[in-house]
């Protein structure tokens, strides 16, 4: 990857390129005003990763008033990881439940489950979690690993900045900028279990003031358990794991102070996965999106206007009484955001944001009704450098949400139940960063986040009058949003002798108005026995602690972390009435270790993770079972050889320690090995 337009990359190139680059850099300085943040140049200037994910303001990672980990493009490349969850699995406090070879749920600070709806995942600010259940289908994210500049993982609620779903954390995927960065990569991968992958990324400068980045890729491979004879998997893996994605991202310098961008994406993902009631199914997802942005540097601050539209078609294939069933429908999400970032004084920065959101889902299996909600959000952040060593950030957001329903009367509810249902919610983030010495930083944060009811939790599928007394399975217009509050104390010390750092943190988290599906809680509404897809069932609290050490000495880079999580559920449904028990399903202890050694043209990487035993629910042909899972120690490794400056070969593998590894309640994962050829152009 090359960064153009500033001094950054040219300083690391050959002398002849250096001179030419600097001449260009000096000449181009006027054109590249960077209303969009130039991550590469700012990182090069300050000598550390930079981010906007903590406050919306550009900041160094070390000064961010939030627990945060930033994974660089180099770390992704070294890891040999083939999916984003594989990359995230290396972060302390992040738990990955692998259901299949690509189906996975990612939890931050616990509470992981099938179709985990607590995480906000963004690509360059556009949400890529899917609104039907607030779930992220990672292989449907239309991004190739080779086009990712960095992945920012922010832990704890960040709703005051990002809005709904940012309750357990935020994963913000930042790609290379089509105007500033030059990137070209073609990869071909072949592996065991029928693995075949291809990935192409290329940025093109169409003019000095217009850049485009194109990417496409896909894979086919067998799911986990292909050879196990598992009847559930056998019935749901007919297509194996399939992925196809394509995206176009562009950015133009319209004037010295205005930039405009357009992004279009498409993706298709078929995968074996575990759903919200811990049921196995094959998910088939097809998405497309359009996004437009305008950024302007004005006397009133840095103004950013963004509008995007996400469309999802999904089908879930499941087994019912030994036969295959299928449900599926479509959702649409439109988001319009306007923000102004303004430095009021040299030490005080504010951000004001407005957001409008319109979400809807079509009824199924018969179309004819639509359920949705609209939301208006207003947010404000203040970042105050109280002294050279102390900063305070305060952010708040107010949301007004109102439901809508079109089509047939939503029996057992009435049209008025939807028309009159509205709620207000408030979220906040407060953070104090105290740089006690040049090496020691103490961070105290508190946050309150809102987990909005999802479309499936609100949806009503009625398109004709149900027979009297028939059981109705329906969304619930009266379900309340879940509220997550988190308090965290963190300490970080730079360790010069290790060229690294040590981190320690402890947190307390409370989840109120917890939402789930209880299959044995029947409500009677207008005379109809009704099972709600969305219902509130009390609260859960959690204590957690985390330590992490990392460093780089010579060619050896390494990290080690330990995470302890201790949730305590206080749910109001009868024991076993819902497939949820976080006290049992959360691994209490997780230890991760990573070591890599780079020498000459070779690069090596070994990642080990050990999780303590846990128990989780799983729907089988016989009903719901609480299964024990003992993942123990698992390993991933990669070794790369750089044949030339432009061409490299990588051999990588996962679940290397055993032939079959029980990673989750889903079928066991086989040992897998794959080879990748990468050509950079």
């Amino acid at each position: 990857m090359k960064n153009t337009g500033t001094f950054k990359s040219v300083l690391s190139r050959t002398p002849s390129r250096l001179v030419l680059g600097l001449a260009g850099a000096l000449a181009a300085a006027s054109g590249a005003q960077a209303q969009s943040m130039n991550y590469g140049s700012l990182e090069d200037l300050f000598g550390e990763a930079v981010t906007t994910s903590a406050t919306g303001k550009p900041q160094r990672a070390s000064e961010a008033p939030a627990p945060m980990t930033i994974i660089s493009a180099d770390e992704i490349a070294h890891s040999g990881a083939r999916t984003i969850p594989d990359v995230l699995n290396r972060v302390a406090g992040v738990d990955v439940e692998s259901w299949g070879v690509s189906g996975a749920d990612v939890g931050v600070d616990g509470y992981n489950q099938g179709n985990n709806p607590r995480l906000l995942v963004l690509v360059n600010g556009r949400q890529v979690y899917l609104d039907h259940y607030g779930v992220t289908i990672w292989s449907a994210i239309p991004v190739q690993l080779a086009e990712i500049r960095q992945i920012e993982v922010v832990k704890g609620p960040q709703a005051a900045l990002f809005g709904f779903n940012a309750v357990s954390g935020v994963v913000n995927i930042i790609t290379f900028n089509p105007l500033y960065d030059s990137v070209g990569s073609a990869q071909v991968t072949v592996g065991t279990q029928g693995q075949k992958e291809i990935s192409v990324v290329k940025s093109v400068k169409l003019a000095d003031n217009l850049g485009v980045r194109l990417s496409a890729g896909g894979w086919n491979m067998d799911e986990y358990g292909t050879n196990s004879g598992n009847s559930i998997v056998a019935g749901q893996r007919s297509n194996g794991s399939l992925r196809r994605t394509a995206s176009l991202d562009s950015l133009a310098q319209i004037s010295p102070t205005i930039q405009a961008g357009f992004e279009g994406t498409w993706s298709r993902a078929d995968q074996f996965e575990v759903g919200a009631i811990q049921e196995p199914h094959q998910g088939i997802y097809q998405t497309h999106s359009f996004k437009g942005t305008v950024k302007a540097d004005t006397d009133w601050g840095l103004i950013d206007a963004t509008a995007y539209s996400n469309h999802l078609d999904f089908r879930l294939r499941f087994l019912n009484a030994g036969t295959t069933g299928e449900v599926g429908t479509s959702t649409d999400t439109t988001v319009v955001q306007l923000q102004d970032l303004l430095k009021l004084t040299p030490s005080l920065t504010t951000r004001v944001g407005l957001e409008y959101r319109n979400n809807s889902i079509d009824s199924y299996p018969l179309s004819g009704s639509t359920t949705g909600y609209q939301d208006f959000g207003l947010s404000n952040m203040y970042d105050w450098a109280i002294a050279d060593t102390v900063s305070l950030t305060v952010a708040g957001r107010w949301d007004h949400t109102w439901l809508n329903h079109g089509g047939f009367t939503p029996v057992p509810f009435t049209q008025a139940d939807y028309d009159n249902r509205a709620f207000d919610s408030f979220s906040y983030n407060v953070g104090v960063v105290w740089r006690a010495t040049a090496d020691d930083t103490v961070t105290v944060t508190a946050g309150r986040g809102i987990q909005s009811p999802t479309l499936l939790e609100l949806n009503n599928n009625t398109v004709s009058q149900p027979a009297p007394n028939s059981l109705i399975i329906t969304g619930n217009p009266n379900v309340n949003p879940t509220v997550v509050t988190n308090y965290e104390l963190g300490y970080q010390r730079a360790l010069a002798f290790l060229n690294g750092s040590a981190k320690v943190s402890v947190f307390y988290q409370k989840t109120q108005d917890f939402k789930t599906i209880s299959l044995s809680t029947i409500h009677v509404v207008a005379g109809y026995p009704s099972l709600f897809v969305g219902d509130n069932f009390g609260e859960s609290t959690e204590w957690g602690a985390e330590t992490e050490l990392r460093g780089k000495v010579g060619g050896v880079r390494w990290s080690a972390s330990w995470t302890w999580l201790n949730p305590s559920d206080h749910f109001t449904f009868p024991a076993g009435a819902a497939p949820v028990d976080y006290q049992k399903s959360t691994p209490k202890n997780t230890v991760k270790g990573n070591v890599g050694y780079d020498f000459g043209r070779w690069s090596t990487d070994l990642f080990l993770v050990w999780k303590s035993d846990y128990q989780a629910y799983y729907q089988t042909m016989a009903g719901v079972s609480l299964l024990s899972v003992s993942p123990g120690l698992t390993a991933q490794a990669a070794i790369s050889y750089k044949v030339s400056d432009d061409f490299s070969l990588t051999l990588a593998g996962s679940n290397l320690l055993r032939d079959q590894t029980q990673l989750s309640v889903a079928p066991k994962a086989e040992r897998r090995v794959w080879g990748t050829a990468t050509y950079q152009f």
Binding site: A23, L26, Q33, S41, L42
Partner: protein, 151 residues
């Protein structure tokens, strides 16, 4: 030591400190300052003239950090793209000529005589004088401005 003597000692130290000239920028400071200049929005032609006054920075280090520029030792002169200065007085003279000034100490930025000054220990910190930038007629990248210490 009585109170008067304490005052005398501090006054003497203060005079001594005020009289002392700041050290020359080292190569790392020069490199960071050169990178910071890349965030200016003003157009700088290839071969732009950069002047280094005595005691501001090693000329060779500036030339190494800005190889596309024409770097020379001397005093601020009209037409220069940037001047590395060793005092606020030099900075004010250069600013009067509409030149971007890079100071070898933060005090120059505090005095509004230097557009930028950098510290590299314990970590990279960049200081920008809004008044000096306005006097030089230059603007910085808006994201860059959010991450520096403005005076």
């Amino acid at each position: 030591m009585n109170k008067n003597k304490i005052v005398l000692v501090f006054t003497t130290l203060g005079l001594w400190a005020g009289a002392a000239s700041a050290a020359e920028m080292d190569a790392k400071q020069v490199t960071i300052a050169a990178k910071a200049l890349g965030f200016l929005t003003v157009k700088a032609p290839a071969g732009a003239k950069v002047v280094v006054t005595a005691g501001a920075a090693p000329v060779a280090a500036v030339q190494a950090a800005l190889p596309a520029a024409a770097v020379a030792a001397g005093d601020a002169a009209p037409g220069a793209y940037a001047v590395f200065v060793s005092s606020a007085a030099e900075g004010k003279k250069a600013l009067a000529k509409g030149t971007v000034t890079v100071g070898n100490e933060v005090a120059c930025v505090d005095a509004g005589a230097c557009v930028i000054a950098v510290e590299t220990t314990p970590k990279v910190t960049i200081y920008v004088s809004k008044a000096a930038a306005a006097a030089a007629g230059v603007e910085f990248d808006p994201n860059f401005k959010m991450m520096v210490t403005e005076k």
